[in-house]
Amino acid sequence: MKQSKMAKIEKKKFRNTLYAVLAFAFFIFSMLQLNIVPERLIQSADRLAYVFGGMFPPVLNEPLDVFGAAVESIQVAILGTIIGVIVSFVLAVFAARNLAPSKTLSFAIKSFAGFVRAVPALIWALLFIVAVGLGPTPGILALAINSIGMLVKVYAEALEEIDMGVVEALESAGASKLHVIMQGVIPSMLSAFIAWSLFRLDVNIRYSAILGVVGAGGIGWELVKAAQMSRYDEALMVTMVIFLMVMSAEVISEFMKKRANSATAQAVK
């Protein structure tokens, strides 16, 4: 008995060493394959210094354009989130196992959300640019559908956690399905619903800054423009604006989360 245990530990030790060696070998192989050699890194230092030198001091040549683009990014994020939240909630009601009218439907919606989730927002943006042309519209659609991928999953999970006793109680009082969801289910999961929706808004504001890079509206495009014209001072300024935008979004959503919690605590009269 004891011996076999010892042998097992030995075997495990050997296996771990083997994994470590393999991982290290792969690391070296990747370095060589991708042509990351020390001399290249050293050479790049010069050019890096040039780029960084060009960044300072940051300038804003067209403040109206940049701020206009920043506002557009935020608008894209908010609209995308709102559409995403509404569609996701409706889908989540049919996806949550405890509320869905059929198991097949629940499975189908969850699989659909999983697929949508697997495709990055940038790819959706590229697809929608082809479909509806450049501008903020493909950005909004891309964020909406990308939000759906995540929100359907988390809303459905929140719905599955509610106390089914409440549903039974309202149904047994003769309430309709819609009554049960609006009066019993939503109040029971409201804090989770608000927290996830605000979190998603946060994520979408980050994404919306990137989406402009592929031409789906917003501030990302300003960044690409500056970089392509080698105006690194402008690029830094745009980056700072993006940073400010994302930071303030985080602060605001945190504040709203707190307010929402105290508001639902008092609930409706």
């Binding site: 039974e168 109680a169 009082a173 003769g174 609006m182 109040p187």
Partner: protein, 255 residues
């Protein structure tokens, strides 16, 4: 003899896994009767109550209520029948985050249109009525507190208020005091009995405390292995009957 409110014929319930929960139950209940159902755990008490408003679908049988067969009722008809049947649960089943009075107002949902009910657009009269009912169960002070701020006994009284607010003909209470301490249990049973007397509805209560059953019931029904084993007044329920009701089947042991 009062009028018959519920008339049950040959009610059967077999769960999908083959467990037979109810076997050919037939009984009648009259208006205003306070009926306590007792019996060992797993005897089918809960299934019996839940079959009456079809939270649990009966396999076969007939439940006549207000002249209609609940078992055969369509979706819409079932809603109409259900609003006349209040239900009280062991776990209270209130919407915990909502104020007490809103929970009482939920008793009116069965009478409201889809949109009005969905958005909780209760009118002033309904709110006043709900507050009045809360007063009757001694909770007017707690009306605007969140339901989960109340004690267990108080929450169960809110659930009773919600059921009263349905203006029901029948109330089904499934182990209403099983998770309460003896004092709160007594208060809850007192309010339930009082409401039954004042409103004149028929009440079915599942209990596992025989002493409470004897004290409160107009009529006691003992269920054992899915069948009615005893049906009579508290005085008829002798110690021998109780022992037999709660005893396990001895034949298997005796061989």
């Amino acid at each position: 003899m009062g009028e018959t409110i519920v008339d049950i014929h040959n009610l059967n319930k077999t769960y999908p896994d083959g467990t037979v929960a109810l076997k050919n139950i037939s009984m009648k209940a009259e208006k205003g009767e306070f009926i306590v159902i007792i019996g060992p755990s797993g005897a089918g008490k809960s299934t019996f109550l839940r079959s009456i408003n079809r939270l649990s679908e009966p396999t076969s049988g007939e439940i006549l209520f207000m002249g209609k067969d609940i078992v055969k009722a369509g979706k819409k008809e079932l809603r109409t029948l259900r609003r006349n049947i209040g239900m009280i649960f062991q776990g209270f089943n209130l919407v915990k985050r909502l104020p007490t009075v809103r929970n009482v107002l939920h008793g009116k949902l069965g009478y409201m249109s889809s949109l009005k009910g969905a958005f909780g657009l209760f009118d002033q009269d309904q709110v006043e009525e709900a507050l009045g009912i809360l007063k009757r169960v001694g909770l007017e002070e707690q009306a605007f507190k969140r339901a989960d701020e109340l004690s267990g006994g108080q929450q169960q009284r809110v659930a009773i208020a919600r059921a009263i607010n349905q203006s029901p003909q029948l109330i089904l209470a499934d182990e209403p005091i099983a998770s309460l301490d003896p004092n709160s249990s007594r208060v809850v049973m007192d309010y339930l009995k009082k409401a039954c007397r004042e409103e004149g509805f028929t009440t079915f209560v599942n209990l596992h405390q025989v002493d409470f059953a004897k004290e409160y019931a107009d009529r006691i029904i003992g269920i054992k292995d899915g069948e009615i084993y005893f049906d009579g007044s508290g005085d008829d329920l002798t110690d021998e009957v109780i022992e037999a009701l709660y005893s396990k089947e001895k034949e298997a042991v005796a061989g």
